[in-house]
C-alpha cells in the first residue's frame, strides 16, 4: 500500500490516521487524513511546514455557508438524477468542497479559474447562482448556458469562472492561456486551474507544466487528489507515489496539502497567488482529498468498500470546518441557524430550476458562431 506512507510524511491527523482497509487492499488506495501539511518548494528541496494563519471567524462562517450550499445543492442534484431529471454524466464533488472554497476566497476579483467536469463546487465557490446552476444541469432555459453546457461545463465569465471541461486535463492549458493573457497585458490577474490526480497522465499537463514554468506564468495548478480516476485507484496507474514530484521536475514550486481544510487551502493558494503576482511563476498544489459520492450519478461504487468511505466521512470538509468553528467560539445554535438558512436557499434554488421552462428548440442552433462576426469596424 504505497500511498499510505504519505500519512507519516504528512504528520499525524487529529483523528487517528486512517489505515488502508486490509481486506480491500486491492481496492483501497491508502487513504490519509492530513492535518499538518508539507510544502515542498524548489530549489531548497526541503520539506517545511506551510504557515497557516488563522482566518477571521466571519470569513470562516462565510466559507462554511459555501461548503454547505455546495453540498446541499449536489445532494439535491443526485436526488434529481435518481428521479431521471438529469441525464448524461453528472459528477458531484461531495467531499472535495474545501479545495474550491478555500481557493476562491484566497483569490481576487479579476482572477481566473478553469476546472473539470467535476466543477459544481468551483462554480458556487466562485459566486455562481445555485438556481441557475441547477437549471443548467437540468437542461432548462434559465441555465447559465441555456442548457447547452450542463454539469460538465460550469461557466460564469463575470465571476472569473472560465469553464469546466469534459476532457480530462483540457482545461489546464486554457488556464495557462488566461495567465498568459494577464502577463502579456501587464495585468496582475492570476489564473488557477483545478484537475484530478488522473489528469497527471494526460500529456498536455506536462506540456503545460513546461511552458508555464519556462514563461513564469501567473498560474496555479491545483490537483484535487482523491486518489481515484473513475473506478481505478491511482496506485494502479501511477509510476510514483507522490505526484507532486512530476511538476517538480519542471523546477516548479510544489506543495502537498490537506485539501479538506479550507484554512490550509486558503493559505497555500494565497502563497501561490503571491508568488504568481510577483512574477515568480507557477505553483503546483496537491490537495489531498476524498470523493465521498460516486464518480458520477449512478455509480454503483463496487470498486471500493463502504468502510473506506465511512472512515473518510470523519474527516471531510464540512466536519472539519464545523469543528473548527466550534473551537473558535461559534456556538451550535448559530451553526444550526446557518444550516437552516442554506437549506432554505437551496430548496428555493431547486424550486426555481424545476419551474424553469425548457429552452426554445431554436436555441439549439444559436451560439455555434458569433453572429456579428467582427470585433469592430
Amino acid at each position: 500500500m504505497k500511498l499510505a506512507d504519505n500519512a507519516t510524511k504528512m504528520g499525524t491527523a487529529e483523528d487517528p490516521a486512517i489505515q488502508p482497509n486490509s481486506e480491500a487492499a486491492e481496492a483501497s488506495s491508502g487513504l490519509v487524513t492530513p492535518a499538518s501539511i508539507t510544502t515542498d518548494v524548489l530549489p531548497s528541496d526541503s520539506a517545511t511546514d506551510l504557515e497557516v494563519p488563522a482566518l477571521p471567524t466571519d470569513l470562516l462562517i462565510e466559507m462554511y455557508r459555501k461548503l454547505l450550499a455546495i453540498r446541499l445543492m449536489e445532494e439535491a442534484l443526485l436526488a434529481a438524477a435518481e428521479e431521471g431529471q438529469i441525464g448524461g454524466a453528472m459528477h458531484t464533488a461531495i467531499g472535495h468542497e474545501a479545495n474550491a472554497v478555500g481557493a476562491a476566497y484566497a483569490l481576487q476579483r479579476g482572477d481566473y479559474v478553469t476546472c473539470t467536469y467535476r466543477g459544481h463546487h468551483h462554480g458556487l465557490a466562485w459566486g455562481m447562482d445555485p438556481g441557475r446552476a441547477i437549471a443548467e444541469v437540468m437542461g432548462r432555459g434559465d441555465g447559465f448556458a441555456k442548457g447547452k453546457g450542463g454539469s460538465m461545463h460550469f461557466v460564469s465569465p463575470e465571476n472569473g469562472m472560465m469553464g469546466g471541461n469534459g476532457i480530462v486535463a483540457a482545461q489546464v492549458p486554457h488556464a495557462a492561456g488566461l495567465a498568459l493573457a494577464s502577463q502579456l497585458r501587464g495585468e496582475d490577474r492570476v489564473a488557477i486551474t483545478f484537475f484530478g490526480d488522473g489528469a497527471l497522465f494526460q500529456g498536455v499537463m506536462h506540456e503545460t507544466f513546461n511552458m508555464a514554468a519556462k514563461w513564469k506564468l501567473p498560474l496555479i495548478f491545483y490537483c484535487e487528489n482523491n486518489r481515484y480516476s473513475e473506478m481505478t485507484p491511482i496506485w494502479r496507474t501511477s509510476s510514483i507515489e507522490d505526484i507532486f514530484l512530476f511538476p517538480r521536475a519542471y523546477g516548479m514550486a510544489t506543495m502537498q496539502i490537506d485539501g479538506n481544510d479550507v484554512e490550509v487551502v486558503h493559505a497555500a493558494v494565497s502563497q501561490a497567488a503571491e508568488r504568481a503576482r510577483s512574477g515568480l511563476g507557477p505553483t503546483f498544489i496537491e490537495g489531498i482529498t476524498y470523493r465521498l459520492a460516486g464518480h458520477m450519478a449512478g455509480d454503483l461504487e463496487t470498486y471500493r468498500p463502504p468502510e473506506e468511505v465511512e472512515k473518510q466521512e470523519a474527516y471531510e470538509p464540512i466536519v472539519v470546518l464545523r469543528s473548527k468553528l466550534l473551537t473558535r467560539g461559534v456556538d451550535e445554535t448559530a451553526i444550526a441557524g446557518i444550516d437552516e438558512e442554506v437549506d432554505n436557499m437551496i430548496d428555493e434554488a431547486v424550486a426555481f430550476a424545476e419551474k424553469s421552462p425548457w429552452p426554445d428548440a431554436a436555441e439549439a442552433y444559436r451560439d455555434v458562431y458569433v453572429d456579428s462576426a467582427f470585433r469592430d469596424g
Partner: protein, 359 residues
Amino acid sequence: MLTPPSETVKDCVVRGAGETGKLGGNERLISMRRTTYIQAINEALREEMQRDEDVFLIGEDIGHYGGLFRVTRNLLDEFGDRRVLDTPISEQAFMGMALGAAIVGMRPVVELMYMDFTLVAADQIFNQIAKYRYMTGGLLKVPVVIRGQQGGGKHYGSQHSQSVDSLYAHFPGIRVVAPATPYDAKGLLKTAIRDDNPVAFLEHKMLYFTRGEAPPPEEEYLIPLGKADVKRVGTDVTITTFSYCLHQALEAAETLAERHGVSCEVVDLRTVEPLDTETVWESVAKTGRLLAVHESYANCGVGAELVARAYEEAPYLLQAPARRLGMAPVSIPVSRVLEAEVLPWKEEIVATVLEMTGR
C-alpha cells in the same frame, strides 16, 4: 471456425429484438437466445481471447472494474491482468502502444471510453495506425481494433455524444464498423479482431441495453466486414443507415408505411468503410430513391459521400435527388429538448422521405 464470406454468413442473419425487418426467408434456423448488445460484445471478446493468445485488451477502467459500461466485465478474472490492461488516462500513449504491439503480431483491442476521445489520440489513430502499413510499403500490418461507444440520446453534451464514423471514414487505411444489433455486433467484432487491418468498431450508447437474438457461444459465426444487410424490404425509397440510426429508420419506415403508404427499404450498412455500395445500388435499382442517414455530422459526412457515389456510380438509377441526413451542425447540447432537436432521428427521417416522395 471461420465461416467463409458472404453466403454462409448471410444465411446466418437473423432478426433481433427491435428489428422489424424481414430478410425474405433466407434465415437459417439455429438455436437462438436473447442477449444484450453489451453481452454480445463481451462474448466476442472472450471468444477471441480464448481462441488467440495474442489478443489483449487495453484501456481505462476495463480490467478490475470491467469498463465504465461494463462491456469487458469479468474478462480480467478469466484472462488475468496481463491480457486485460488497466491504463492511466493516457489515450495517446496506449493507442501508440497498440500500434507497436500489433506490428509484431499481437492483436490489441483498445477501448476508448467515449469515442469522442478519438480526438485526444487522433495523431496515433490517423497519422500512425491508419498509415503505418502504407508508409512502410506493406512491410508491416497493424491489426488493432479501436472500440467504444459513440452517439447521442443520453444528454452527455458536446464532448461525449459525437459520432465519429464519418471522421474515421475520411482517412484511408482504417476499416469502420458500426453494428446495430447484438447479432451483428458479435459477428462483426470477432471478424474485426481477426482482420489484419486496423478497425474502428463503433458501438452506440443507446444500443448497449437493447436485446436481440443470437446463437449461443457454442455456435460460432462471423460476419464479413463490408457487407450491408437489408433489414427491411420496401419499394419506394432506400434508406441506408447503420448503428442506432437503423432503429430510428426502421421506426420511421413503420410510420411511413402505416400512415403515409410509403414503402421503405432499410439497408443496414454495418460497415462504413468499405461501403457496400453494391447492395445499396441493388436496392436503389428497385426504389429509385436514396436517403442516407447517420448520426455523425452531416457536413462532409458518410451521407454526403453516399450521395456523391450514387451520382458517380449509378446516377441512372435515381428517380429523385438522392438525399442525406446527419447531425445538425451544432456542438450537441446537453438539454434533452435541444439534443432531440438536432439528432437526425425518426421524425426527420419521416419528414425527409415525405419530401422525397412528394407526399
